[in-house]
Symmetry: C2
Subunit: 365 residues, 2 copies
Amino acid sequence: MIAQVATDQPGPATEPAALPAPRRTQRVSMAHVARLAGVSSQTVSRVSNGHPGVGEETRAQVLTAMKQLGYRPNSAARALKRGEFRTIGVILFTLATTGNIRTLEAIATSAANEGYAITLIPVTAPTQDGVRGAFTRLGELAVDAVIVIMEVTLADVGVLPLPPHVQVVVADSNAGDRYSVVDTDQAGGTREAVRHLLDLGHRTVWHISGPAESFAAQRRARAWRATLEEAGREVPPLAAGDWSAESGYRAGLLLARNPECTAVFAANDQMALGLLRALHEAGRSVPHDVSVVGFDDIPEAGSFPPPLTTVHQDFAEVGRRCVAGVLRKMREEHAPERGTTLVPTHMVIRHSTAPPPTAPPAPAG
Amino acid sequence: MIAQVATDQPGPATEPAALPAPRRTQRVSMAHVARLAGVSSQTVSRVSNGHPGVGEETRAQVLTAMKQLGYRPNSAARALKRGEFRTIGVILFTLATTGNIRTLEAIATSAANEGYAITLIPVTAPTQDGVRGAFTRLGELAVDAVIVIMEVTLADVGVLPLPPHVQVVVADSNAGDRYSVVDTDQAGGTREAVRHLLDLGHRTVWHISGPAESFAAQRRARAWRATLEEAGREVPPLAAGDWSAESGYRAGLLLARNPECTAVFAANDQMALGLLRALHEAGRSVPHDVSVVGFDDIPEAGSFPPPLTTVHQDFAEVGRRCVAGVLRKMREEHAPERGTTLVPTHMVIRHSTAPPPTAPPAPAG
DNA sequence: GTGCGGAATGTTTACGTAAACATGTTGGAT
DNA sequence: ATCCAACATGTTTACGTAAACATTCCGCAC
């Protein structure tokens, strides 16, 4: 039963001349190491896991044998025995948006710090089938817990069909009543942005929103409206974008024609970029004629013409909290806690905002 | 031995009132399904894997039992038995660059199509320790093959310390003599870009390069130089950037002061954006005074002021080829093929390029 | 000297699945 | 009536690991 091996000792650069031996079954197992070291496989296991109760000399022998054979623990067997994979699945709909990417990166980093690996489960279509497919695969996947980055309202799904026994944390969603949700404080950030423009003396603030299906876009638009209403300002018609710079440009072309419009809050930096181009082409200077605020603070924002005032999101913190949350849930087993955790934002003021052309020194009336 | 279960039947919404039963061991196995369906576990296995030779009626019974118990195959056991995980590991150094992200996305998509999942292995530091750490984890990870996205020269590593029995494909590297490498045709794309500017009548082309450690940056810079030399043009001093828009801006401030400089090739679109801002601030109009070409064709490029002429990379194709390559290697076992596959680029001509101010109708002399 | 505790190591077993092999059952050809 | 395919299903076993339990050996207290 142990025979098969031999062939494969990964010795130092013994390039096999012509036909390499038939491979496949020749993984080195504890049994091989044990045989070579002249001990039982249990002892190898103990050494491999750093358990105490192994003699100094024996341990050294085993270590040598392991190195010599190039032994690698078999994670499948290990997972089977232990009942856990030390892996977190991440379900997301696209890697095309800045937010998702940065959240993913942060999740990967924090997970790595905790000794967990990340398995990516892309969902092709944001439909019931798409999600169901992802979760079906997921159910069979080597994963202990799942983080769903669900930035979009599902076309035809009310509830996520989650597999049993897998803990879930959702980033960027409104499912706080059903799952644990970690999200950026969209409302807070938006409020800051709008207030900043109002405080500069603008009568009101226009808005280019993200796509209607996006939770973040919805929340930013709602908070924009609410902030204006609270301040007793007129709420101008909303320009609907789709996150892309191109859509910001198109919205900007309209806005640029309206001399009333002196302050615009774009729901993300890319659309702000498109807006900037539209304003530039229309001959309206930023920030002298029109002030612009974005959202996200992408790395390029500081190099826009002109450098963009925007709302900075702490994606790293979102990632950290997602991982922490999911691990806590795993360990505590019970109490499938729900509710939403908000990660605060802060404004980065650069050169795309200024008082309006006819700057009234006191708050307008 | 089968006892443990019972507690957990995920029946339709039977919300347990107060304390949920102690969990952990109660995963539903084939044995449970078999018992409920009144068959042997082997029959369950056959149904689960869609093997033939199971009676219609029996199959239906088993299916019912599976649904009723919420059975999920245990991937650890499956992997252990089959000797494969149906998972590909992806090692990368950062998710901060457009190229990496888009390649990753493409890899994830193609892998999913092939029924493979993706495990992310971020390397924190591009040093020997960092890489070694990643590969150590990797060795214990549930992965059948690895794709390395190595866009950067390792500070202190000559050769990748790869674990045995794991097939590898490298994206974006110069390790073609050691591994299979899939890369964008950097040289071809650069040549096109430079020739485009030359053909418009510019005497020569300036270059803002990426960071020195980046393979792609190296290759783009080299091809730029080579193309100019082939055409017998003067090679202006190279401006070194670091991919960021900010660095493009800094380089642009210098370039803008030089009236000789009428055409610039930036090694990526972000730097081109910074350059655009610098030129704009310096009062030099694009494309009338200066022509600019970027590289990558990021989604925003079409919305730059002005829309950027750039070299489009087919990241999806890179991803597809990486996955295809690594799977082929796995299946064919033998012949660890090496060499580099190049994915072609194509130019996207927008509005940032035009003939030079003093447009000579014939090729300049 | 006897016995007992504890350290070092070995043996058994189970994790859940699926290949390989074994058994049983049916119906059609002879 | 008999026998043998062909099919449906059951039984055994192994994958590599690690917990639980068993054994051996030593030294020290009495």
